[in-house]
Point group: C2
Chain length 347, copies 2
DNA sequence: AGGCGCATGGCAATCGATTGCGCAAACCCC
DNA sequence: GGGGTTTGCGCAATCGATTGCCATGCGCCT
């Protein structure tokens, strides 16, 4: 018969700070301070408590903690692009930037809450949606209704946005120079002698609109007749781009260049061209936007505008934490660079 | 001079339930019940409170709520694959499945917390890591140390895992049949007359190991000499796969097929082959695993084993919620299917 | 020996919402 | 009009950690 045993190796599970306190023979407040590393508790006591915590597998209850401290060390990330559904989160560009944000947050000991809805879309659902769950919000993309975003952000000092530096915004932004990006694309295509462009993407999205405008302005000022340019509006998915491209080129090759608003669209367009026997880049040049990881690995490799997601994620997080700290955020327009690869005749 | 105005259109901001209660002239408890839709509060009062909540822009403080209710309606998602860093979250496969999980959770009004560390990696950092922040945990991938995962999960009833049905596990799994997947790949390659295979991937990962084993077994039982097969171990990133493939084929084409543990690796391998002037699929067949969105759009289109992320995400969430509800989870081995495309000579 | 100061640690209020229990008003019936 | 039910609400404890302020004990100085 096993005798009751009070030896030290018995692993006592502790669930609350009070239990740890009892174990250590001190008050709850002391445990709290010890765990916070306060100088008010002697090094010796701190060490004893730390050990107890280890052994008992105790974990601070972060809900109670953040109720009291009014901070949760959690940041909410919202993909603002999609109007109809959330699936576009699976676009590699978005997941790359979310990953970058996650890493930057982790370095600062923050957690990342992936939001299921844009906070300014007032849900009519009778319930009051719970909130106060994150200390700050990072919004990816200004979407098609920047006014709503601006209104939402106007009353808060804990919102930063990945997007473009547009007028009337009420929040700090980090992003690439979309106008310049569009220009760079146009210049490259013009240098190649291409003039009959197809633009793929929904220009109602602020950033896409700017890319489009930059490209158009440059084309026009170079003397290309605007009516040689076709703009195909479409959502952010491969299927749409594939279908539209195929439809367009089915009758023959009149256009000689495709500028897609994102790499995902560009890759799908190239596939459509390939399926139709149209050669890239000989017959048609294709340029994308984002420089997702796979861009370099498709065949032909995709020429694209690089958006530095790692730098972007870091800048977003830094700005947000600065804001939360009472400081001022600094907008960051990241270097915007054309990466020339085979799809437009590069090496 | 603006006169003080008490008209009803003055938007009173309320921050706590107590304030709403004061506004409505009832007790806090009544507000709580009203918002919860309790029958204990008259429809009339409920309506009045609802209206007040709307006008005042009040949001329930979810921290206080979940402290009290002991549920947060939040699920933590952990990418268990990477041993060294977290960057692999940007692998399209992982982001697809995270997206699917996010959607399934949203349908059930749960939030998704993206974790920065695997909970069983005991951080030696002196601080007790906060916890109790999610009601349940979804782990993607069993990683290279399934025992640790098993130990972690053994003591809880709120963990589900995307992975393989291996012995000694202590948690429900959802996943594809990796062994069968490997077999299907081998059969296809054998049918094509390919016998000199290269396997790309880290077989220490449980799932990868099974894919590898299935493939090997099938090859061997078909009489292919095992020593004709080369296994290249590597992490989950494009660069490694590109480099290793290039290195291997630089000297000439001896192997006639590549089976990569993931599509990302496969695409990179194809790029390396293409850069070396090796033709796919004429000289070398390439098959991947996952069927990420881009697989159909690379050129040549990638043959691969499809993992249904949408069904998987849904199954994971359903199982987890069932567990949380006190029910029993049902392991789900999803249909495992070879999608034949050009990269192995398909249409 | 008395007094002062510092180092440690405990008390209790607090964060905001939830909920078991009990009370009061209203309504019914006889 | 009185007793018994409903119906609708309020009281107060509770979830677990944090923190301002006070209390205790000890060493040290004069």
């Amino acid at each position: 018969m096993p005798q009751p045993d009070d030896s030290e190796d018995k692993p006592v599970r502790a669930r609350t700070m009070a239990e740890i306190a009892a174990l250590a023979g001190v008050a709850e407040s002391t445990v709290s301070r010890a765990l916070a590393g306060s100088e008010r508790v002697s090094e010796e006591t701190r060490e004893r408590i730390r050990k107890l915590v280890q052994e008992s597998g105790y974990r601070i209850n972060s809900r109670a903690r953040s109720l009291r401290t009014r901070r949760s060390r959690t940041i909410e990330v919202v993909i603002g692009i999609s109007e109809t559904n959330r699936q576009h989160f699976s676009d590699p560009f978005f997941s790359q930037i979310v990953a970058a944000i996650a890493d930057a947050l982790a370095e600062n000991d923050y957690d990342l809450l992936l939001s299921r809805a844009r906070p300014w879309d007032d849900v009519e659902g009778a319930d009051a949606i719970a909130s106060n769950r994150a200390d700050g919000v990072i919004i990816i993309g200004q979407g098609r209704e920047p006014e709503k975003l601006a209104e939402y952000a106007a009353s808060r000092r804990n919102v930063v946005v990945w997007g473009a530096d547009i007028p009337d915004r009420s929040y700090p932004v980090v992003g690439s120079d979309n106008l310049l990006g569009g220009r760079l694309v146009a210049r490259r295509l013009l240098a190649q002698g291409r003039r009959r462009l197809v633009f793929l993407g929904d220009i109602r999205h602020v950033e896409i609109g700017l890319r489009h405008r930059g490209c158009m302005e440059e084309m026009t000022s170079a003397g290309a007749a605007p009516d040689q340019t076709l703009t195909l509006s479409m959502p952010f998915d491969s299927e749409s781009a594939y279908g539209a491209t195929r439809e367009l080129f089915r009758g023959g090759i009149w256009h000689d260049a495709v500028f897609a608003a994102s790499d995902v669209l560009a890759v799908a367009a190239m596939q459509a061209l390939s399926d139709l026997g149209v050669r890239v880049p000989e017959d048609v040049s294709v340029i994308g936007y984002d420089d997702i990881a796979l861009a370099a690995y498709v065949s032909p490799a995709l020429t694209t505008i690089r958006q530095d997601t790692v730098a972007g994620g870091r800048a977003l997080v830094e700005n947000l934490l600065t804001l939360l700290d009472g400081g001022e955020a600094r907008d960051a327009i990241l270097p915007t660079e054309l990466i020339v690869r085979r799809s437009c005749g590069g090496s």
